[in-house]
């Protein structure tokens, strides 16, 4: 009775389908999910778009030592260094990165730059929405990579007084 056997097989198959219909979903519902990440979830170790960190005073951690650029196997990091002055202090050390570009056309997200960094300034964030129609958009500038200023900074305006008085620059979230 081959018809009966077929019906039994379909019923068995459909029973799995109907059973799963009422269970919670396991796949991530990106990009239709809830929250700012639209349903995406990450492991801590995920290596996404880089974030240039700031120290507890809101100063940039990067001292423009070029070690990340030297470590980079795909040669995608471009830095121009400049000297900090008393009036214009950007990083904690003598030097800061005036220009810090990462070319995501070339970046392979290997994490060598993060390992090379002596000040823990460059880290991997979780940003991954890099797709664009224009390759020049894939060259990220320092402003796009910098971590937002710490929230307490407005309260303690010892550092970068001029900037604080002028209002902090708008922060572009990584990946936007």
């Amino acid at each position: 009775m081959c018809i009966l056997r077929d019906i039994a097989a379909i019923a068995k198959g459909m029973s799995v389908t109907f059973r799963e219909m009422f269970r919670p979903t396991i796949v991530e519902n990106y990009p239709k999910g809830p929250g700012p990440l639209r349903g995406a979830r990450f492991e801590e170790r995920y290596r996404g778009v880089h974030v240039l960190q700031r120290d507890e005073n809101g100063l940039e951690k990067c001292v423009a030592c070029f070690l990340c650029a030297a470590a980079c196997p795909s040669n995608c990091i471009y830095i121009e260094a400049a000297e900090n002055t008393a009036e214009h202090r950007v990083s904690g050390a003598e030097r800061y990165a005036q220009v810090y570009n990462i070319d995501y056309n070339r970046c392979i997200f290997c994490g060598y730059c993060v390992e090379a960094c002596p000040t823990d300034a460059i880290t991997h964030g979780h940003g991954f929405e890099l797709a664009t129609f224009n390759v020049s958009n894939l060259i990220y500038r320092k402003e796009q990579l910098l971590a937002p200023r710490p929230a307490h900074l407005g309260a303690n305006a010892v550092f970068n007084r001029a900037e604080v008085e002028g209002g902090a620059p708008p922060v572009v979230a990584p990946g936007e």
Partner: protein, 785 residues
């Protein structure tokens, strides 16, 4: 000296007696680390990194202060030695900050290398490091005290090498500190040798600080474009918005004629290159105003006007003024352009030394010129006139160190108490302008003694100087522009009586000698051949104008009389230099190519943005006649090398450029076709050429094509091309019959350490040093040790 047998790490070796153990190790290929030891300076024994085990000596010994002895058995690496070096590094790091990521020396720091080789991962010192704020000692020298490891190299190079003695050591023990001569700042020659020699980042350069890192730059060896000494300088370059930016000048490759030396100009004064006043677009005078235009329009206009004037009035109506700062190839091309394309001998340049008279005086004696390397080795030297310390810093360095290291005898004759007198065996202070009389005295004419004798220099001193000079051998005679024409000929005659005597005639700019050798004279062809004699050139070029042309003052007169219809000025500033009345050229069509709008731009109808020596390849001949390679380092968008501009003008005049620049020859061989026709070969070859700043001779803008012609036709330039391309200097001979000119046509540049003609005016580094000096009272010369 007799040889001594030693055993180094089991290897039996012989070395000359008196060799230092550390040098013997180096020659045997064994590296013994050291900080304080530096070849050519006094021994210090301060860092104790070079400890080695010598058999039968109970304790480890410093290799840098031990002279080898017969039968010495030495071990240079063992666990004991390794431990000793490790402890030394640990001690040095006891207070040395670990700020390598921000330190300028990071990546080329000797302490960093030693720490990797010998250092421990952890230190047992737990005390807080003693921090001191960084100090600025001069516009170009910064001192970061905690980084200093007290090797005293800077103190020795400043005192012994430069004879400036501006750095010292104060206090003792752990409190020792390097101190500048004026409490909190330096008053010195700002040569930056202390920065170059510092093994760590304690002394850093104000021009380069915090800009980039050593491995981020491309390093290009080229020849300095400032004075006539031709130091090799290494330019660190990186890409920039406007082309290629030069960020550092130093002396990484110490194999050039200058060895360890560079002066302030070679080290910092490359910054005129990116001065904001640099012209980056051709300018054409329209309604009395210089207005920006396109290259196309400028070439069109120049080509048309030059061709018109040549056709209507002949080449006589055009004058050409060349430069002492453009390459040999450009100078040669320019005079060929004038003689062949324009058909005129009206070509001149700013003369700073009487080289034609020098060639005439030396006629027949091809080996009688000294190279810069000879000056360092000569057993005796005579310097007449000039002030090498200020005007020829490398020459002064060679002289000083020859006296210090080889106990050479130095005789100085000058109308000023110049600084080199401190190294002199005998110094004759003579009245200004009496150099010619002195030559007569040396020749044996005692009647001039009355003029020369002064309270500083008694009669006996002059006579004994003459006697001593007559007793010398292999004397190198160096003279400045004080001696010209017949007087110079007399000196050469007197000097030649000394067996093995060699001569150096001083010219002031980077390629003054080259401009003279390449025939930027109205009556001389390249190689000091009078225009009436140049048979080879006539055959090669197919005809030449016979009559000598106009000198610069004659051009001015001709322009005033309305006979000079056009003037072509390449890289020179005759209006300021010769105080020319700007209205003299009111009716002439004046084309000028330069980097800046100098005074000459006032009279120019077309201004073309040219490139400087750091932005082109070619060769320079220094004042001694040493030929050296220029490699392209920087690039500023919008400018063109003078070579290309000249060729393009010739092309617009309807001239066949193949006759001007013999390019294209050997093309197939160069493309690798003869070597197996592998397609990759041509690519690899061009990659190699590109990497070495050269171009294939496929284009009419390739200076090497003209160098071929120079080497073929100019007497004295038959030097090894391969050696030249490897970056080594090649001494050229001064040949040709030469000629006597009016001595008044020579105008010395009178630059000092901190000025460099037009280039110096646009250098931020030089201006900041000058400004800094103006703020302080004039300092008298410091005493020597």
């Amino acid at each position: 000296m007799a040889d001594v047998n030693i055993t180094l790490d089991g290897k039996k070796l012989t070395a000359p007696a008196g060799t230092l153990l550390i040098e013997a190790c180096k020659n045997a290929g064994i590296e013994v680390p050291s900080f304080c030891y530096y070849p050519g300076f006094s021994l210090q024994g301060a860092c104790r990194m070079c400890l080695v085990k010598i058999e039968k000596v109970p304790k480890l010994q410093t290799a840098c202060t031990t002279v080898i002895g017969e039968g010495m058995i030495v071990t240079t690496d063992s666990p004991e030695i390794h431990q000793a070096r490790k402890s030394m590094v640990e001690l040095l790091l006891g207070n040395h900050p670990l700020d390598c990521p921000v330190c300028d020396a990071g990546g080329e720091c000797e302490l960093q290398d030693m720490t990797f080789a010998y250092g421990a991962a952890e230190s047992k010192y737990i005390d807080i490091k003693n921090h001191r704020e960084e100090q600025q000692w001069s516009p170009v020298v910064y001192f970061d005290r905690p980084r200093c490891i007290l090797c005293y190299r800077c103190v020795r190079v400043c005192g012994e090498g430069m004879d400036v003695w501006a750095l010292g050591i104060q206090n003792r023990g752990v409190a020792s500190v390097i101190a500048p001569n004026k409490e909190d700042h330096l008053e010195c020659e700002e040569c930056g040798m202390c920065i170059d020699i510092c093994p760590v980042g304690a002394l850093t350069s104000g021009a380069y600080r915090y800009k980039t890192r050593p491995w981020e730059m491309k390093h290009i060896d080229t020849t300095c474009t400032h004075c006539g000494d031709g130091c090799r300088t290494t330019l660190g370059v990186r890409r920039a918005d406007t082309g290629i930016e030069i960020v550092r000048g130093d002396n990484r490759d110490k194999s050039g004629i200058n060895g360890d030396f560079l002066c302030i100009k070679g080290r910092y004064a490359f910054d005129f290159v990116d001065n904001e006043q640099r012209i980056k677009q051709p300018l054409i005078r329209k309604d009395g105003r210089l207005t920006p235009s396109s290259w196309e329009e400028a070439f069109e206009l120049i080509g048309r006007r030059f061709a018109e004037i040549c056709g209507r009035e002949g080449g006589r109506a055009i004058g050409v003024i060349g430069s002492s700062k453009t390459s040999n190839e450009e100078n040669y091309l320019l005079q060929k352009f004038a003689r062949v394309v324009l058909g005129t001998n009206n070509i001149d340049h700013h003369r700073t030394g009487d080289f034609p008279a020098f060639a005439r005086a030396l006629a027949g004696k091809l080996d009688a010129t000294a190279s810069m390397r000879d000056v360092f080795k000569a057993p005796a030297m005579l310097v007449i006139g000039n002030d090498p310390t200020n005007q020829h810093p490398l020459l002064a360095w060679q002289i000083r160190n020859n006296v210090r290291l080889h106990r050479s005898r130095l005789y100085v004759i000058n109308s000023q108490p110049i600084k080199l007198r401190r190294q002199a065996t005998a110094f004759a202070h003579i009245p200004a302008g009496s150099e010619a009389k002195l030559v007569a005295l040396l020749a044996g004419d005692d009647s001039v003694l009355d003029v020369l004798v002064s309270e500083n220099t008694p009669r006996e001193a002059l006579l004994s100087l003459r006697d001593r000079l007559r007793g010398e051998q292999n004397l190198v005679i160096i003279f400045g522009a004080e001696l010209r024409g017949e007087e110079m000929a007399r000196l050469v005659k007197v000097g030649s009586a000394v067996s093995g005597a060699k001569f150096v005639c001083l010219g002031d700019y980077a390629n003054s000698r080259g401009a003279a050798d390449m025939g930027l004279y109205p009556d001389l062809l390249p190689g000091y051949l009078p225009v009436t004699q140049g048979k080879t050139f006539r055959e090669e070029w197919g005809g030449l104008p016979d009559a000598p042309g106009l000198t610069i003052p004659q051009m001015v007169d001709a322009a005033k009389a309305g006979q000079l219809k056009a003037l072509y000025v390449v890289g020179a500033n005759p209006v300021a230099r010769f105080n020319i009345d700007p209205f003299a050229f009111a009716k002439s069509f004046v084309v000028m190519q330069d980097m800046f709008l100098t005074e000459t731009a006032l009279i120019a109808d077309v201004v073309l943005p040219g490139a400087n020596a750091y932005e082109k390849s070619g060769t320079f001949t220094n004042t001694c006649g040493d030929l050296q390679l220029l490699r392209k380092a920087g690039e500023v968008t919008g400018t063109k090398p003078d070579f290309e501009i000249i060729v393009r003008i010739a092309e617009r005049m309807g001239f066949d450029v193949r006759k001007l620049v013999p390019f294209g020859g050997g093309m197939w061989a160069d493309m690798g076709q003869s070597r197996g026709a592998q397609s990759g070969e041509a690519d690899r070859h061009s990659v190699w050429l590109e990497a070495h700043g050269l171009e294939t001779k496929l284009s009419p803008f390739d200076p090497m094509a003209i160098l071929d012609e120079i080497q073929r036709l100019v007497p004295g330039y038959h030097v090894s091309r391969r050696t030249l391309l490897s970056g080594t200097d090649q001494h050229t001979r001064i040949g040709g019959p030469g000629i006597l000119h009016n001595p008044e046509l020579i105008v010395p540049a009178n630059d000092d350490l901190f000025t460099s003609g037009t280039l110096g005016r646009y250098s931020r580094a030089l201006n900041s040093v000058l400004e800094n000096q103006r703020r302080k009272p004039v300092e008298t010369e410091v005493a020597a040790d």
